[in-house]
């Protein structure tokens, strides 16, 4: 392969120059070929386990090997996947799922209700809970009605339980699943796997979707360094790379051989203020901190302009998102007033804990420190490594940052803003808010629910502990001959890793 690649590169170099650049393929998808995908992250701890993905490369593999009952498509709409139909009972406590009848596991066995129940039992196993377990606290039992129907019985009403079922961490596996023999229903089947290096998957000929996947093979390669990743793309050793640093977007885009996928997402990288500890237990201080941010400058400097404005509220794609609330803008004078009223007429000094938890995080901290200085706030930046950040101090820092992919409002609240949430880094505990959320969770009527959600969001807009300055775009790069990649709002790279739709315009 190495030889062939080198030779290919040689031919391009000696060829007719720009004329050798291929145009984007059009027309009907062609079958065949191997797609080589480079992704940063992962390591020796990589796994093929359907339910414990941690790194980006894990997620990419899991999405192509396994499928949950529902999923979020590129528009962030909830779509059926292994479920044919999902219906809630009137009290939103029982959710009935009818399975597709034409789905087979990689080994040829049909997917039945028993497998669904076993998958959820594995995920929520109290002795060894998997990634998706935290969001399934309200699940009492999964009852198998018959081969193609299961009931999810909840211990409290949830009108948006179907959203929980649409997470990639909830792939359906056979009842006798063993991660050493990774069998799922995904478009690709396992062939080889070397943690921290690469994995190869082959087309699942039994796949239930018509014609898909188009590729014969899919190879996912780990890179520990962004430079190596981009070099691999530029030297045509990989066909597509996920999540390029936004600062390099223009440079990479200038190469005529390379296409860019620049997708708006609902991902957010907030500053987190602990609302139960001084100085942030005073809402005026939180307000002042939110008012010192020049959000446009932040997006310009941290994301090189590739992002959308944040208004201190998350879940911008949620149907209940209150678009009528005014966009918060920098107001240093007002911030100073608020700080003086809160007892800091001469400004104050805070420590901001940051780490390279996501591309741009450390830069955002630095820009914030500069902007805050104008209001007399001295921000001492304490930079730690990622493992330290997510270590014992995680969720305990007074003032830090965090990162979340796109989620709808209620699932995100469950993850981060209820007193019972596993990731409540702001220590937000607001009875009125909690009551609103609880009511919204139990309300099946969508319009009514959205109104409750908007109210809850407004409380966070006025008093919350997050500074949400923007939503970063997801930028990926790929060779011109790769077709079928579409921008995805999910925040996951390369069309949400749905490589079933990808095809190659020329044999590589």
């Amino acid at each position: 392969m190495g030889l062939a690649l080198g030779l290919g590169g040689f031919l391009t170099a000696c060829g007719a120059g720009p004329a050798a650049v291929l145009s984007a393929p059009g027309g009907a998808p062609q079958r065949g070929g191997r797609l080589r995908v480079g992704l940063a992250g992962g390591g020796a701890a990589d796994s093929l386990d359907a339910h414990s993905s941690v790194s980006t490369t894990d997620i990419a593999r899991v999405i192509n090997l396994y499928e949950p009952l529902l999923y979020r498509d590129e528009n962030y709409d909830l779509q059926p996947l292994l479920a044919a139909q999902v219906t809630a009972s009137d009290d939103a406590r029982v959710w009935t799922v009818d399975l597709r009848r034409d789905v087979l596991f990689h080994d040829g066995r049909p997917v039945t209700g028993k497998d669904v129940a076993a998958s959820f039992a594995r995920i929520t196993n109290p002795d060894d809970p998997k990634s998706g377990a935290a969001a399934l606290a309200i699940l009492d039992e999964v009852a198998v009605v018959d081969d193609y129907r299961v009931e999810f019985r909840l211990n409290s009403p949830s009108a948006t339980f179907d959203d929980s079922l649409g997470q990639y961490t909830l792939g359906i596996v056979p009842a006798d699943y063993d991660p050493a023999r990774p069998v799922g229903t995904g478009p690709f089947k396992y062939r080889s796997f070397a943690p921290g290096r690469n994995s190869v998957f082959v087309r699942n000929d039994r796949y239930w979707r018509e014609a898909e996947p188009y590729l014969d093979e899919l190879e996912i390669l780990n890179f520990s360094d962004d430079d190596a990743l981009i070099n691999a793309l530029l030297s045509t050793q990989v066909d597509a790379i996920g999540q390029i640093p936004l600062t390099l977007l223009e440079v990479i885009d200038a190469d005529p051989r390379i296409s860019i996928l620049n997708a708006e997402t609902g991902a957010w990288m907030p500053f987190t203020m602990r609302v139960d500890r001084p100085p942030f237990d005073d809402n005026r201080v939180r307000q002042a901190f939110r008012l010192v941010v020049d959000r446009e400058q932040m997006i310009e400097q941290v994301l090189s302009g590739n992002g959308s404005l944040g208004n201190d509220m998350y879940s911008p794609f949620d149907p209940g998102y209150p678009k009528h609330l005014p966009q918060r803008e920098q107001d240093i004078a007002r911030a100073k007033e608020l700080l003086a009223a809160a007892g800091y007429p001469d400004g104050l000094t805070v420590e901001l804990v940051t780490a390279p938890i996501q591309s741009g995080a450390v830069e955002a901290a630095q820009v914030f420190a500069q902007q805050a200085a104008a209001a007399g706030i001295t921000v001492k930046i304490r930079q730690v490594d990622t493992t330290t950040f997510f270590g014992d101090g995680y969720l305990q820092w007074d003032f830090a940052q965090d990162f979340y992919y796109t989620r709808n409002y209620l699932p995100q609240v469950n993850a981060s803003t209820l007193p019972t949430s596993p990731f409540n880094e702001t220590h937000w505990d607001h009875p009125e808010f909690t009551a609103l959320v609880k009511k919204a969770t139990a309300t099946l009527d969508e319009e009514e629910r959205n109104a409750l959600i908007a109210k809850a969001m407004q409380i966070e807009y006025e008093e919350g502990g997050y500074i949400i300055w923007g939503h970063a775009n997801q930028a990926d790069a790929y060779q011109q001959y790769v077709a079928g990649l579409v921008p995805s709002r999910t925040g996951l790279a390369l069309s949400g890793f749905e490589f079933r739709r990808v095809w190659l315009g020329v044999a590589s």
């Binding site: 392969m1 190495g2 030889l3 690649l5 080198g6 590169g9 040689f10 391009t12 170099a13 080589r36 390591g43 020796a44 701890a45 941690v54 109290p126 002795d127 060894d128 809970p129 998997k130 990634s131 377990a133 935290a134 080889s192 070397a194 943690p195 921290g196 290096r197 690469n198 190869v200 390669l221 890179f223 520990s224 360094d225 430079d227 190596a228 070099n231 691999a232 530029l234 030297s235 045509t236 050793q237 990989v238 938890i357 730690v384 490594d385 990622t386 493992t387 330290t388 997510f390 270590g391 014992d392 101090g393 995680y394 965090d402 990162f403 596993p422 990731f423």
Partner: protein, 318 residues
């Protein structure tokens, strides 16, 4: 001669033991434990507790150290916390890959360094000498990362696209099956290491050429070729061997950066990964290995010194 070497060997074992304790303590000082490192943002208390139990992290520290040391003595390198598999399986292929890189770089840079250094010394003050010393001075000032990036830009991405920029050999297949992918990482190491050898060789050669016995040989009418090969070179080799040893030892550690840049599947990548994952077992084995390389190449340099220096040769028999 042998007792000196044996004594050096015994000291080396003690040093290795000390290194193992140091590394163990150092990894403990890093905040966070392997379970936290692996789960990252996904770390809920329940998942942490389950993983810690699976990884025996609840045992006391000294017990974990002794168990590891005991295993090492019986040839068992332990179990990697991150992968759950044996460390030997994780590292075997990688150690081989790194050795290939080091050997390739060594085989090229040592003779080239010696030749260019000698050439430079013989042409002292002339154009060839200026070019050689000037170039090696500039190269010696550049960090390996800069050299690597420059080579990639030149040969594989921007100017020419002749060579692969990263290593993509499938796991299980030896890296030398894809010789093209070895060129740039090897060349980077060569460009980093050779300048030092050139400069040392040139300086030593100049000193030797001005010494009494070379002058004597020349006065006696020994042909210039023989003067250099028989009289000057052997005397220059001993000090140069020290420099070569230091450079080779440096490569064992410096290869980390190069492997990172070229996605080379060697110990460098494994080491960075293991530190991130707080994978103490792997960090220790690699640190010991790099320490062992230092000790062995220095030992070899001393042997070269003893063999080429008659004074030490006889002194050893005391």
């Amino acid at each position: 001669m042998t007792p000196i070497i044996l004594r050096r060997l015994a000291t080396s074992v003690l040093i290795l033991l000390a290194v193992s304790v140091l590394v163990f303590v150092a990894t403990l000082l890093l905040p966070g434990d392997p379970a936290q490192a692996i789960l990252g943002q996904q770390a809920t208390p329940e998942r942490l507790a389950a993983l810690r139990e699976q990884m025996n992290l609840n045992d006391p520290v000294w017990q974990r150290y002794l168990m590891w040391l005991g295993g090492l003595l019986t040839g068992d390198l332990g179990v990697s916390a991150a992968s759950g598999g044996p460390v030997s399986a994780l590292l075997g292929e990688r150690i081989g890959a790194s050795l290939v890189l080091l050997l390739a770089a060594g085989i090229i840079s040592i003779p080239v360094g010696l030749l260019v250094g000698t050439y430079s010394a013989l042409r002292r003050g002339r154009a060839g000498d200026h070019i050689a010393t000037g170039t090696s001075l500039v190269l010696a000032a550049l960090p390996e990362f800069v050299i690597g990036i420059a080579l990639v830009t030149l040969f594989s991405t921007t100017v020419f696209t002749l060579l692969p920029s990263v290593t993509m050999a499938p796991p299980g297949e030896p890296v030398w099956n894809y010789p093209l992918q070895l060129i740039l990482p090897t060349l980077t190491l060569v460009l980093v290491v050779t300048p030092y050898i050139i400069r040392m060789m040139r300086a030593t050669m100049l000193e030797v050429l001005e010494s009494g016995y070379v002058e004597m040989a020349r006065l006696k009418g020994v042909p210039e070729r023989q003067v250099i090969l028989k009289h000057a070179l052997p005397h220059a080799l001993s000090p140069v061997a020290q420099v070569v040893a230091i450079q080779l030892a440096w490569m064992a550690g410096g290869v980390v950066v190069v492997e990172f840049l070229f996605r080379y599947p060697g110990i460098g990548q494994a080491l960075v990964d293991a530190v991130t994952n707080r994978d103490v077992q792997v960090v220790q084995v690699l640190a010991l290995l790099i320490a062992a390389v230092y000790i062995v190449v220095n030992l070899l340099a001393d042997v070269v010194g003893i063999v080429t220096n008659p004074k030490l040769r006889t002194g050893g028999a005391r």
